[in-house]
Subunit: 317 residues, 3 copies
């Protein structure tokens, strides 16, 4: 709780800013907030009168709604700011926007931006807490934390669990943040991708494979990444069909995996590409748990970022 207390009032740009103790504090806090979302009256006064702005420079209805509901269930005031993809705000114009919002007394900015690093730069401009909701190919820390939360709820401590992250590792901010988070909590990560989608310059100790079959039998979790269909036009995969033939998690492959192996995906799924419909709707898919976890974890992250200013209490209300 000491480490956590020190963290409060600060931003969250990526997972590696957090110590393991802080991650555990966040996950514990999320647990108490998840209970709130199961009540009929899904609301606590923890952040009453605080102002949260969703500053989305990339469309993402799911993530925006998850943060919006997280803030509302903590009784914060939320304002949505969505810039059209065509008018992405850069440089001085972005700084003016951020300083303008700060001058309005905004307490937290939840930022999604197509440029890697934008939330970190914004964090340097403002006293408001900045929560990274996904930036370019860089990081997506709340996704990684919610994945840890969802996994721990299903299989307990991640120590020595083996997690395969499968798909377009190279372009994935989700993969980057998940590798850090899973590793921090003691899991072993193995990366699976075609050579064209595997990042260059991996640290020498990284386990990886180009062949899903190679890791099928010794993983506890298969984390499938969303494949952008642009990869086909870019020539990075021959076709969606061939990609699916080699990397789709389907019933046949899952049948060869450990009996309790789980299947995760950050959503939204391309059914029939990364994952077959049968597996997506089956008992070993954790995607809806991930969504539920996302709300609880984002409540905890907002509470960490803002609750400390007056020593708010997660249990109250």
């Amino acid at each position: 709780m000491d480490a956590a207390a020190a963290r409060r009032g600060r931003s969250l740009i990526d997972v590696d800013q957090l110590t393991p103790a802080e991650v555990h504090w966040l996950l514990d806090t999320a647990r108490s907030f998840e209970e709130v979302s199961r009540r009929a009256v899904k609301k606590v006064p923890a952040l009453r009168g605080r102002t949260v702005v969703n500053l989305f420079f990339e469309p993402s209805t799911r993530t925006r709604i998850s943060f919006e509901l997280a803030a509302k269930r903590l009784s914060a005031d939320v304002v949505n700011f969505a810039a059209a993809a065509s008018s992405v705000v850069k440089g001085e114009a972005l700084k003016d926007t951020v300083l303008t919002l700060q001058a309005m007394g905004v307490d937290a900015l939840v930022v999604r931006h197509p440029c890697s690093g934008a939330p970190g730069v914004i964090d340097g401009w403002t006293d408001a807490a900045v929560i990274n909701a996904g930036d370019g190919m860089h990081a997506h820390p709340t996704q990684a934390l919610l994945d840890c939360y969802a996994l721990i709820r299903r299989i307990g401590c991640l120590q020595d669990k083996r997690i395969a992250i499968v798909g377009d590792i190279m372009h994935s901010r989700v993969a980057r943040s998940c590798i850090k988070a899973f590793t921090m909590l003691g899991a072993e990560v193995v990366l699976v991708a075609p050579p064209t989608l595997m990042p260059a310059g991996l640290p020498p100790e990284t386990r990886f494979s180009y062949v899903l079959e190679d890791v099928l039998e010794d993983c506890d979790v298969f984390y499938l990444l969303r494949l952008q269909t642009e990869r086909q036009e870019e020539g990075l995969i021959p076709s969606l069909r061939e990609y699916a033939a080699a990397y789709q998690m389907d019933a046949r492959r899952l049948g060869r995996a450990r009996p309790h192996a789980l299947v995760m995906h950050p959503g939204p799924i391309n059914r029939g590409v990364e994952i077959s419909a049968e597996v997506a709707d089956g008992p070993r898919a954790v995607m809806l748990d991930q969504v539920t976890s996302g709300l609880a974890v984002r409540m905890a992250v907002l509470f960490m970022a803002l609750g400390g200013k007056e020593g708010g209490d997660a249990e109250s209300g």
Copy 2:
């Protein structure tokens, strides 16, 4: 109240799911809520901490604002989700969206969708209450209920009243739901449309006419439907001018009607097409009453859908 109690916590896809007793309970509840909207502090805590999502796959500012205000005046948290007409979510992608929202602990989905039947399908996927806010050419139950409410407030019980529904019956979800609701409350409905806009296969007992003059003198209410100007390009009407010449409610025609006959329209009006400006702004037009009724009725529908989970009370606060 017994029938009503049984209904609570359930969805509203179309009017014919409701018994007459349930309709009367809704209208009575709406009456108590209408009073709330006349106060300076237009708010009751009936649905505090419940989450309502406006899931609109078809643009409709009026209906969205009506539901948004209804939810807010009941102290619910509201999130808007508007999908561009170009990216209408279908099939599995729609199901994923709905299950994602359910996983976030959403209590009610207010759904408008261009495909007939979509809200009913969604209702089969989720435990959240689904309120149909208009689907394709199928149904628009809250419109029909608010029309009943507005009419009863003006002319009392609908038993044996005669209501002409005039215009593009064939393509109108409003007409379909209104026919059911008006009939259920004892009114006699007569349909008036050009042959090209009259649905085929009407039940044999249906009264209808191709000529507005034929029914002018023996109706208590003229319910004009909005004419989509596409009907002209589709060749279903020769021109807006000729349509107006035959079916517009104007001062001359209204002068031949019963002295207390009323004029309704679901809005937004095409002035000079379905209705002349003089009649639209005159004392026998009920359109603004319909809007006010809409808010009260939608509060009642949301309260029916959600209030029962904890036995909330419409009168409290």
Copy 3:
């Protein structure tokens, strides 16, 4: 307080509707609200249960968020209505929209519209309070009031201060409202613009100049107006570069001004056009104070417009 009390419940279309006493009451009220925005719990119950609609027919994220936060910090319910620039609602359709919102029990309409005069026309249609958030080239009263507020906070009473308004006076609603407000509070205004951007038919007593250098040494405030880049295509300025050479407030020019002279701009700034980056980020630029003031002044305006209906009290909560 008497004049102010009389004003409550009324609309704000332009500054000249207000008496100096009313302006002072608004600025005093804003002062008490600014303190609210500095608390951790930035919320007072002054307008609980009132409904405010942001009716924006012109995109403006900053102004919309400023009004949205102002309303939320007063505990009002806020609904956003943004019409695409392409579908600007006019004439009867606009009237129908306004009457529809009134029929929903809306208490205040915050209106931004590209047509000069639209908020005034709307005010004639509805009992709801209408707050002009900028209309065409006509007026922007909350901008002018917030500028007065920000200035008074910096330099005290405006009596006998000299304020240069510099730039595209001809097309500027900000200039029109600021001239009225600054003059009402006793300041002397001097207009500086190229002849092509200076309005014709100025009152004979108006001080003006085509040359910024002429007024550099005897002004307390330089208020730079945003230059729409369209002016170049319209041939009203030779080029942005030449405009900047003659009218940009840069360090060299500011060095020649009085040592305590301030620089204002309604935002968003075109850095390097109206104002150099160095001056924009320097200690004499008041732009962020203007933003902070905007929130406080808009809270006061909304409170004036709505608070009186039940004798709400700015201090409560």
